[in-house]
């Protein structure tokens, strides 16, 4: 299969799909561009969806999938590009127009009301004429529709009592009830059990058989193979190819999805790996809907190394972070910091014990935006000398330290009194990093430390992480950005559904292999380097 290095889409495959290749297009998006400020979320995306097919839209987090679908649904307005639905140019002003045109959206986070019944949820907004609500009739109609598509669901059941998989069926049912002929499913398997996923597939096939069109947004290769007729891959806001699923391989798709080019490279001398400093043993955390968010997860961060955890968002990263930071008690397992059991310690005690933390969410976790820079430097430090003595805060010390940190870490702001809210994202992140690193921690947790930053700020953050490593700290880097993981990590773990499903030494694993693992495929053993890696279990013992 032809390699696709430059991002162009050579979509000239042999025409032996069993579906009519010249079937009319249900959705045709061409050259769609969407900018947010200076950030280009969609940079010329083409999406040709044929009538009656299941079309997968594949891409990593941040590739631009959701933005594209928001544009299609009339929630955003594209800066450039054309959209046609059923051959007619479509410029939807809002979701209402999209629904009228026969589009239906199944949201990843359901737009349903738990206290309403199934029928109430389905008919809401399309109750029909008249003021009175004929519930029995509505329930009958909903029941009939459900039966026609084989969507087993009781119209009278209270939605909140139903399992997630059934709730999703209600979303599908609602789209059908509204007359949708093209269904868009946004990461529809994210919350489902494997059995529910199978049922979903069956439903989608029945829809296809009935002549409906399905757009299936996903980042999981397995799902692309399992359900789609064709697949469009997007990366960094661009279409990198549309393929007939049957004619492509998981490896090709993985490569298309994660790309090859290396945007940033940080000088990284060889690591001098020391003792274990942060150890997780058998962490188990209950998730929603009976599935564990973390399942017996163990990992070890050693001094002098950057341990990268890659994986698609929603596979337990949030729970892992919260458990390590002390915001969540695991149902089972232990967290050790410098050999001490800190499982029961609160975030503050863990900080004192030598753990620093760069959170993903600057605005809601890392900073108090309406605090000044100096007050933000106090965050997490306020109770400790020399920041305070006997309950009295040493504001002068905080200011002078902040001024020093601003210089050292190049935080560009007028003064320590400036509110954090007025800083750019890059400067906000530098402030957090400055605060967290000046404590000279033993272990550093960095979660998506460069999300939303510009290139200059990203490079700065990366250099800091490597510098910390070289000073003998243990760095745990959790990121959804594979480039970041590959650039910085000495050792790489792959997190999938709350488990570590792969461990590799940096430089001895291909992106494709990582992409496959992140997508939940492990049978493809190419590039595997487990033997060479110091395993978590071994190091922890």
């Amino acid at each position: 299969m032809a390699q696709d290095r430059n991002g162009a889409a050579p979509d000239h495959h042999a025409h032996h799909d069993d579906r009519a290749d010249d079937a009319p297009l249900a959705i045709a998006m061409r050259g769609v561009v969407k900018r947010f400020g200076t950030v280009v979320a969609n940079d010329g995306i083409d999406l040709p969806v044929r009538k009656g097919e299941i079309h997968a839209l594949l891409g990593e987090n941040g590739a631009g999938k959701s933005t594209l679908m928001n544009i299609l649904f009339g929630l955003y307005h594209p800066d450039e590009g054309e959209i046609a639905v059923d051959g007619r140019p479509a410029g939807f002003k809002g979701p209402r127009d999209a629904v009228t045109a026969g589009l239906g959206m199944v949201h990843q986070h359901f737009m349903l009301i738990p206290r309403f019944t199934v029928a109430e949820n389905v008919i809401l907004g399309s109750e029909g004429s008249g003021v009175a609500l004929d519930r029995p009739a509505a329930e009958r109609r909903v029941g009939e529709l459900a039966e026609r598509y084989g969507l087993r669901v009781d119209p009278r059941a209270r939605l909140g009592d139903l399992p997630v998989g059934v709730q999703q069926r209600v979303e599908i049912l609602r789209a059908l009830y509204q007359g949708s002929r093209t269904l868009i499913l946004d990461e529809p398997t994210a919350l489902l059990t494997p059995q529910e996923v199978d049922e979903l597939y069956a439903i989608l096939r029945r829809l296809r058989a009935a002549g409906d069109t399905v757009i299936f947004i996903t980042h999981k290769l397995r799902e692309v193979a399992a359900i789609s007729d064709r697949v469009t891959v997007i990366r960094r806001g661009r279409t990198v190819g549309t393929r007939i699923t049957a004619e492509t391989t998981a490896a090709e798709l993985a490569e298309l999805m994660v790309g090859r080019e290396v945007v940033l490279r940080v000088e990284r001398p060889p690591a001098h790996v020391g003792d274990p400093v942060l150890v997780a043993q058998g962490l188990t955390v209950a998730g929603g809907h009976g599935q564990p968010a973390l399942a017996d997860l163990s990992l070890t961060v050693n001094r002098g190394e950057i341990l990268g955890v890659c994986g698609v968002e929603g596979n337990g990263q949030a729970e892992l972070v919260e458990t390590l930071a002390g915001l969540r008690r695991p149902d089972a397992g232990r967290v050790l910091l410098k050999g001490q059991d800190v499982t029961a310690a609160d975030p503050h005690d863990r900080r004192r014990a030598g753990l620093s933390y760069i959170p993903e969410d600057r605005h809601n976790r890392g900073l108090v935006l309406d605090f000044s820079l100096a007050e933000n430097v106090l965050l997490g430090n306020a109770d400790d000398a020399p920041f305070s003595r006997a309950g009295r805060i040493d504001a002068r010390f905080a200011r002078s330290l902040t001024r020093r940190l601003m210089q050292t870490f190049d935080v560009r702001a007028p003064s320590p009194e400036t509110p954090a809210r007025s800083l750019s994202g890059g400067n906000q992140q530098k402030l957090i990093i400055a605060r967290e690193l000046h404590r000279e921690p033993d272990a550093l947790l960095a979660i998506q430390p460069t999300r939303g930053l510009d290139v200059g700020a990203i490079e700065f953050v990366h250099r800091q992480l490597v510098r910390e490593r070289d000073q003998g700290r243990g760095v745990l880097l959790i990121s959804f950005d594979l480039d970041e993981i590959l650039d910085l990590s000495d050792r790489i773990l792959v997190l999938y559904q709350g488990r570590i499903v792969g461990e590799f030494l940096s430089g001895k694993v291909s992106r494709t292999e990582l992409g496959l693992r992140m997508g939940g495929r492990s049978e493809d053993g190419q590039g595997r380097e487990r033997e060479g890696a110091r395993t978590s279990a071994g190091a922890a013992a």
Binding site: P95, I113, V131, L133
Partner: protein
């Protein structure tokens, strides 16, 4: 306890519960649509004052009633604009409504009647026997009507959806603001009715702060009734009954602490909202806007 006492207690309960039912149904609608309305007290006062004033100038209690209800509805428009369009703080707005409901009548009585917070005596609304005015049956009739509107009509479904999850409701193309406006305005009209019952139904004049916290008891009834019309009715009867017993106890010298009886609604509500006895289930989208989730 003789029959006379029982019947007079029952009548007294009906009378004390009536203003509470009106105001509580108003609060129920507002809260069900997702707008916190702690301004019921102020809206009741506006209704009570304008009903008496209107009746005084028109010489007809029914015209007064219409004016009172209209004025309270107008006052509710302020709450709606502040809470829904401006997206200001709903509690702050309600607090302002309460202060204005107390002070504007005081200001106007001074100006219009040259008294400190009292209107002249006016003709009362007609009674249906035993001193119960015509609005008493109306209040009780309204309970099934509100129930029907909420649970058996299309607008009712949308109101409850707006109150449960405004964002999901907007996602199916429903204009949440429109339904919220309707409910907040209705809460004004109903609270105004509740106030009018006091000034031109039970009494025949308005006097400063004559609601004496009934707006807050009505709010308490909504919470204690778990945001359901029938539960709210039961709560207003319970609270009204407590008030009636207290009045009877005062007049007949029953050995019951009236303070305990008066405090009962508040204590019960305090316990109910903490969920110690049962789950308190306020609308999930209370105070939330479609765009901020």
């Amino acid at each position: 306890m003789d029959d006379f006492f029982t019947i007079s207690l029952l009548v007294a309960t009906l009378r004390t519960a009536t203003p509470l039912i009106f105001a509580a149904l108003g609060g129920l609608l507002s809260e069900r649509s997702g707008v916190v309305n702690i301004g019921l007290e102020g809206l009741m006062l506006v209704g009570a004052f304008m009903a008496a004033t209107g009746a005084h100038y028109a010489g007809d209690p029914f015209v007064g009633l219409a004016i009172g209800v209209g004025a309270a509805t107008l006052a509710a428009v302020i709450h709606a604009v502040w809470c829904i369009t401006l997206r200001g703080d709903q509690v702050v707005a309600g607090t302002a409504i309460n202060l204005l409901g107390l002070s504007i009548p005081a200001f106007l009585t001074q100006r219009l009647f040259d008294t400190a917070g009292r209107t002249p005596t006016i003709d009362r609304l007609p009674t249906i026997g035993r001193g119960l005015n015509v609005l008493v049956p109306v209040a009780f009739l309204l309970v099934p009507i509100v129930w029907y509107l909420l649970f058996r009509t299309k607008p009712g479904l949308r109101v409850m959806a707006a109150g449960e999850d405004p964002r999901a409701t907007e996602s199916v193309g429903i204009n949440v603001a429109r339904y919220r406006y309707a409910c907040v305005l209705a809460s004004g009209a109903l609270a105004g009715l509740g106030g009018a019952v006091l000034s031109i139904g039970d009494l025949s004049f308005y006097t400063s702060n004559m609601t004496q916290g009934r707006g807050f008891i009505a709010l308490a009834a909504v919470i204690f009734g778990n945001w359901s019309p029938l539960g709210t009715l039961a709560a207003t009867l319970l609270f009204g009954g407590a008030q009636a017993i207290q009045i009877q106890a005062q007049t007949t010298g029953l050995p019951i602490s009236t303070d305990v009886l008066i405090a009962l609604p508040y204590v019960l509500t305090l316990i109910a909202i903490t969920g110690l006895f049962r789950n308190s289930l306020p609308p999930a989208g209370l105070g939330r806007h479609p765009t901020t989730g």
